[in-house]
C-alpha cells in the first residue's frame, strides 16, 4: 500500500473487570489505509465491537496503542471528543438509537457538516463547494439514494434501511478519514443489506476515507471488502485479500465459518455442522507462500 496508514493498532488488549477479568481483545494489531474497505468478521462475542470502541477512542485499551494519522489516539476525556478525533466516525447496528427522534433528518446531517467545518477550522481550512463531499443536507440525501425533500422528515417515519442511509450520510458529512460500521446492516431487511453496505463502501472510498466494516455476515462482506480480518476469541486468526480468503481459507476456524454459510441456490443442502465442542487454534494462519 502506497500511502501512510490512517490507523495503526498495535498489540491491543482489552480486559473487562470481573473475577477473573474477561479478556475481550487479546493482542490485536493492524493498519488501515485510506481508500480501502476492510471487513472485520467473526461470531458474536469475539471482540469486534470492543475493538471498534477502542479505535474510536471510546474505550481505553488495557494494553497496546492506537495511532491516528501518526499521532497516539487519546481516549475520550470529560470534555468530549477533541475536534481532530471527529475524523473517525461510526455507524451502529440500530440506526434508531443513533439518530435523534425529535430532530429533522436534514438538521442531523447538518450536524455532520458542522463537525467537518469545526475540525477544518482547527487546521486553518474551510469547507468548499469544490470538494467531493456535499455541504448541503439535501444533496447528501440524494447521494444516499433518498429524496432531497426528505430533509424535513423525522426518523420515525423512515424505514430501517432509510434510517441507516441517513446515519451513513451524517457520518460521512463529517468527512471522516475512517468510517467504522459496527454491524450496520444486521437490522435491515435481507433485500436492502447488500445495497446499504455497498453504498457505505462506495461513498467512503470516493472521499478518500477507509471503511472498517464489522459484520458477522460474510456473504455481504465478501462483496464489498478489499481485505478481510477474521476474529476469533479476541484474536485475529486470519487476514488477507477477500478473494484469496474466500477461495482458500487456511485457518480451521475460517473454514468452519465459511462452510456454515447457507447459500441461496435452491439446492436444499444443509450447511456443514462443526463439532460444537471444538476449540480452534488461536495462532494466526500463515498466508505467506
Amino acid at each position: 500500500m502506497s500511502a501512510e496508514p490512517v490507523i495503526q493498532a498495535r498489540d491491543i488488549v482489552v480486559e473487562y473487570p470481573g473475577h477473573p477479568p474477561l479478556r475481550a481483545v487479546d493482542g490485536v494489531s493492524f493498519d488501515l489505509y485510506p481508500g480501502e474497505v476492510v471487513g472485520l468478521v467473526g461470531e458474536s462475542g469475539c471482540g469486534k465491537s470492543t475493538m471498534a470502541r477502542v479505535l474510536t477512542g471510546l474505550l481505553k485499551p488495557t494494553a497496546g496503542e492506537v495511532s491516528y494519522l501518526g499521532q497516539p489516539l487519546r481516549p475520550l476525556g470529560i470534555g468530549g471528543r477533541a475536534p481532530e478525533l471527529t475524523g473517525i466516525q461510526m455507524v451502529f447496528q440500530d440506526p434508531g438509537s443513533s439518530l435523534n427522534p425529535r430532530r429533522r433528518v436534514g438538521k442531523q446531517i447538518q450536524d455532520g457538516i458542522d463537525t467537518a467545518a469545526k475540525r477544518m477550522a482547527c487546521l486553518g481550512q474551510r469547507l468548499s463547494r469544490d470538494d467531493p463531499a456535499p455541504i448541503d443536507p439535501a444533496e447528501w440525501l440524494v447521494r444516499v439514494g433518498m429524496q432531497a425533500s426528505d430533509v424535513r422528515r423525522f426518523p420515525h417515519s423512515l424505514s430501517g434501511g432509510q434510517r441507516q442511509r441517513v446515519a451513513t450520510a451524517r457520518a460521512l458529512a463529517a468527512r471522516p478519514s475512517v468510517l467504522i460500521g459496527d454491524e450496520p446492516i444486521s437490522a435491515l431487511d435481507a433485500s436492502t443489506q447488500a445495497k446499504v453496505a455497498h453504498l457505505m463502501g462506495k461513498l467512503a472510498v470516493s472521499q478518500g476515507a477507509c471503511l472498517l466494516f464489522i459484520s458477522h455476515d460474510l456473504s455481504v462482506v465478501r462483496l464489498i471488502a478489499d481485505r478481510i480480518m477474521v476474529m476469533y476469541r479476541g484474536r485475529i486468526v486470519e487476514r488477507g485479500p477477500t478473494a484469496e480468503i474466500w477461495s482458500e481459507p487456511r485457518h480451521p476456524y475460517t473454514k468452519a465459518l465459511l462452510g456454515a454459510i447457507p447459500v441461496p441456490d435452491g439446492a436444499g443442502k444443509l450447511p456443514a455442522v462443526a463439532d460444537p465442542g471444538v476449540a480452534y487454534p488461536l495462532e494466526e494462519a500463515d498466508r505467506t507462500g
Binding site: G145, A190, S191, L257, P264, P276
Partner: protein, 277 residues
Amino acid sequence: MTALLRIEDLTLGIKDEDGVTPILRGISLDVAAGQVQGLAGESGSGKTITGMTVMGMEPAGSVTSGHIWLEDTDLLALRGKELNQVRGQRVGMVFQDPSASLHPQLTVGSQLTDHVRYHLKLKRAAATDLACDWLERVGIPGGRAVLRRYPHEFSGGQRQRIAIAMALACSPGVLIADEPTTALDVTVQAGVLALLRELVDTLHLAVLFVTHDLGVMSAIADNVAVMHDGEIVEAGPREQVFTNPAHAYTRSLLASLPGAKGGLLSRADLETLGGGW
C-alpha cells in the same frame, strides 16, 4: 400427498377506530407431514401473523375469514378451551427469540414437565422422563442435572434447542418456526437447522418455516412461498422457486442477494442494484 395442515383463503384484518386494516389478503397453503413449507418475503408482509394465526395467537382486534384445517379440525373456528388444547399440543411453535417460549425464572425442567403434564395429563415421574428424553434428543447433554438449570445458564443455540424440545414434547403434528435461527451465529445456526431437519424427517412434522434469509430457506425448505403485502405472490417446490422464479418480486428478491442465481456474485453486480427499496 394429502396435507396435514391446510390454510384456505385466510384473510385477516385488524380493527381500530378508523375501520379494518387488511393484513392478510387470502392466503392458501397446504403442508404435508414430513414437509417444510418455507415462508419468505419482506418485513411487514404478514409472515409472522400467518404463523400466529395458525397457532390461534393472532393480534387483538383481528377479524378473520377462511379456514385453517388441521386434519378435520378447522382451527379458525375453535374458541376458548378447545383452542387451548390444540395450541401447544397439536401445534407447536418456536420463535426467533427463545426467551419468548422460555420463562427466565423457572428451571428448564419445571417448564418442560409442567407443559407435558398439562397437555398430556402425565404423572410427575413420567413427565420428568419425557423431559429428559427430549433434552437428549435435541442435543442438550447432561441428563437429569440439566433439568435444574435456568435458561440463562445456556448459550443462545442451546436455548433454541430447549425451545424446540418444548414445542415438540407433546408430539404435535404441526410446528410453526418463526425465524428460529435468525439470532444465532452461522455455525450455531447450522447445528439447529440440521436438528430441525432430522426431527421433521423422523417425526413426520408438517412445518411452517418463516424466514427472510433465503440461504436458510434454500437449506431447509421443501416448498417455498413468497409473501408480499399480505399475499402469496409465488409458491412452489424449492428448486423451482430459486432457479426459475415466476414472479417479478421473487426475482428482485433473489437479485438482491449474494450467492443466489441471478443474484450478487461479484462487486460489479452491486453496481447494477438500483437505489430503490
